[in-house]
């Protein structure tokens, strides 16, 4: 496209004092990754492509289903059964052939996230589950990529910008400063069950695209360290200011190596649902820190445990720990084979509402076997 075509295509946008030719140039050089080409991703992709964002990445492993069509407006009946990322890429290329579109027809996970995200300047989260949201947040924190967050339920939506330094304080908050840990999977309402009005992700997705465009073009006013909740039944906006916290820094994996070991599906989906954790899962929790481990064997029982720090409170005096337990603590209890620890966890969960206590399945013997410290 020659200069006059470019000018004509983007003329209404270039005329804006806040964008101008310099802003348009920045957009054409920008690389934006849209994760999830669903209700949020579809409108975001359309507007980012239309605005002239030079490179768009689309991550989605799903195929188009008829139940998607009421809100995922890039797809039509003919597309049912085809990969969303591919269809979305074709549609936005038709809208703006000048841009480059990269597709990633795969589920984003902790093994591929670093590699994919590293190739882009900014990430737009259009996913529909907590495991992906925590994974994307943590990867963006570690890779220092601005993240435009959006989420919806029924008639409500949230939009915000994370990992972008506030112009005044120079500090940046992330998703874990807002919601440090995922909710209990049993308490979560998904759009599948609770429903969502199609236009709601449309609006939130467009708000995400708006923030992305403003960040890239260098517009001063961005939803930095803030989220807005938009209730489309009552037509009310409510803004929340978020400050960076020590807690979130402790919760996020410290390095790529730790990130590669962090099991986000387990973290979000099994966290409170099961009373037991496997020996491998204890290792994940230990590497993340922030857990309290209690040995409920009687004194002098063998084998001794000196591989990780823990406290000893014998099962016979288990009632004495209640006062020291906070319902926000994650506790792993172990004994020799997992039987006394299972009883302890049952007791703790009954006594302390919301208590996140888990019993080490197979006891310390299973853990030592896993690490080949003892043989069969």
């Amino acid at each position: 496209m020659n200069t006059s075509d470019i000018y004509q295509r983007y003329q209404r946008q270039i005329s804006l004092r806040e964008i101008g030719e310099a802003g348009q140039q920045k957009l054409s050089l920008a690389k934006v990754l849209v994760i999830g080409a669903g209700g949020l991703g579809c409108p975001a992709l359309q507007y980012l492509a239309a605005a002239g964002v030079g490179t768009l990445g689309i991550v989605d492993y799903d195929i188009v289903d008829i139940s998607n069509l009421h809100r995922q407006i890039l797809y039509s009946v003919d597309d049912i059964g085809k990969p969303k990322a591919e269809i979305a890429a074709n549609k936005v290329k038709t809208l703006n052939p000048e841009i480059e579109v990269q597709t990633f027809i795969m589920k984003l996970d902790n093994q591929n996230a670093f590699h994919i995200i590293a190739g882009f300047d900014l990430v737009l989260d259009g996913t529909d589950n907590f495991a992906s949201r925590y994974l994307i947040n943590d990867a963006c924190v570690l890779l220092k990529k601005p993240l435009v967050y959006g989420a919806v339920l029924r008639f409500e939506g949230q939009v915000g910008v994370f990992n972008l330094a506030d112009k005044v304080t120079g500090r940046s908050a992330n998703y874990r400063d807002l919601f440090p840990e995922p909710p209990d999977p049993d308490s979560v309402l998904s759009c599948n069950k609770a429903g969502v009005l199609g236009v709601v992700p449309g609006i939130i997705g467009m708000l995400q695209a708006t923030e992305a465009i403003k960040i890239i073009a260098g517009v001063n006013e961005v939803l930095c360290n803030q989220i807005v909740n938009y209730n489309m039944l009552s037509n009310e906006f409510y803004k929340f200011n978020i400050s960076p916290t020590e807690e979130s820094i402790n919760l996020i994996p410290k390095s790529e190596t730790e990130f590669l070991k962090f099991d986000y599906d387990w973290f979000c989906n099994r966290h409170n649902a099961n009373d037991e954790i496997a020996a491998e899962e204890l290792d994940v929790l230990i590497s993340n820190g922030k857990i309290r481990i209690i040995d409920v064997r009687e004194k002098n029982e063998l084998p001794l445990v000196n591989e990780f720090s823990h406290s000893q409170i014998p099962f016979s005096s288990i009632e004495s720990i209640i006062s020291s337990i906070d319902s926000s603590d994650t506790i792993v209890v172990f004994c020799q084979t997992g039987s006394r620890s299972a009883k302890t966890v049952k007791f703790l969960r009954a006594e302390i509402s919301g208590c996140k206590a888990f019993s080490l399945s197979g006891g310390i013997l299973a853990w030592k076997k896993l690490h080949q410290i003892i043989s069969n």
């Binding site: 999830g36 669903g38 209700g39 949020l40 991703g41 989260d125 259009g126 996913t127 529909d128 589950n129 907590f130 949201r133 959006g150 989420a151 919806v152 339920l153 029924r154 409500e156 939506g157 949230q158 400063d177 807002l178 919601f179 440090p180 840990e181 995922p182 909710p183 209990d184 049993d186 308490s187 979560v188 309402l189 998904s190 759009c191 609770a194 969502v196 992700p201 909740n229 209730n231 009552s234 409510y238 803004k239 929340f240 200011n241 978020i242 400050s243 916290t245 807690e247 509402s353 919301g354």
Partner: protein, 77 residues
């Protein structure tokens, strides 16, 4: 002393209204305690608390006419 409480998402399902007023509450911990007493289902879900639009993570003193907002996470997209 009056504290205005705003609710969002699932919290509204539990409390049955998007805003209401509590009197004579001095800090966020006592407010959460009172709310949990009135709506026991609140213990089963996670939410964040903001005082006058600022997210707070520790017990925070409340003054007359403060607005406390209770925001649960959404995951839909």
């Amino acid at each position: 002393m009056e504290i205005n409480i705003l609710t969002f998402g699932q919290i509204t399902d539990i409390t049955g209204k998007t805003s209401f007023i509590y009197s004579d509450i001095n800090n966020t911990d006592s407010l959460i305690k009172e709310l949990t007493k009135a709506f026991p289902e609140l213990t089963s879900i996670k939410y964040s608390v903001a005082v006058n639009q600022q997210l707070v993570h520790v017990n925070t003193v409340l003054n007359d006419k403060d607005i406390v907002a209770l925001l649960p996470p959404f995951s839909g997209g």
